[in-house]
Symmetry: C2
Subunit: 152 residues, 2 copies
Amino acid sequence: MSRLSYRDATAADLGFIVGLIVDDNVAPTADRPDQPDHPGYLAALAAIDADPNQRLVIAEYDGQPVGTLQLSFIPGIARLGQFRCIIEAVHIVPTRRNLGLGGELIRWAIDQARDRGCGLVQLTSNKKRLDAHRFYERLGFAKSHEGFKLAL
Amino acid sequence: MSRLSYRDATAADLGFIVGLIVDDNVAPTADRPDQPDHPGYLAALAAIDADPNQRLVIAEYDGQPVGTLQLSFIPGIARLGQFRCIIEAVHIVPTRRNLGLGGELIRWAIDQARDRGCGLVQLTSNKKRLDAHRFYERLGFAKSHEGFKLAL
């Protein structure tokens, strides 16, 4: 039974999303939850909206936003030209954790990837997030790769 | 001094690219280097060409293709709405390895990400590829994340 409903994020959701990014961060961040109308956020949302291969999603529970994630559908040559789906920026509000909503959200994301014909779903998770790693492995993901980042 | 030159891949490069994918794979693959005109490959190349946030690149040395990679420029809310660049499908032909060309290719990719205003470059590498991990760390990447994959 699905308890969550899903819709694309709008500018009115930016405060909610940025607040979760800051709350969940394991590293210092320049983000400004007090400035949800910062031009950088509005430009990013416009870029996501303009790109049919990007979806920024709000998950609602009892009519209230409780989570978010971003899906990116990426064409590629490997595997006979299969698309892959990258999941980024997965967050559930602190007051609604440990209810299984995160698992429901990720299973929904996997279904979206399947519906778009993706052959692979992938994501990275900071090495400090040990609970998240167990969570993704329970959902069937293999911790098969190292994730490298370079800040510019 | 730059020894490599760069151009976007065309259908004529698919045999070269798929051959490198198969040669370099650490897992079984369904790819068919003998069928570079497979409809799946042609559709993927068309999807890449149609998307201004995707680039499939051929690196040439002495007028011959010696390497390839794909760049994906992904909008996102975090970091005041910074784009990130994902590098995928990095390959150098076996006969041209250990000449430093891979490092040159990745440094060029980082420059492309910077030119596009990305705040972050990221990639994943199979845990079996220990040489590749040292290579990316020498180029300044931090092995900060676990990479999770789920085949559909």
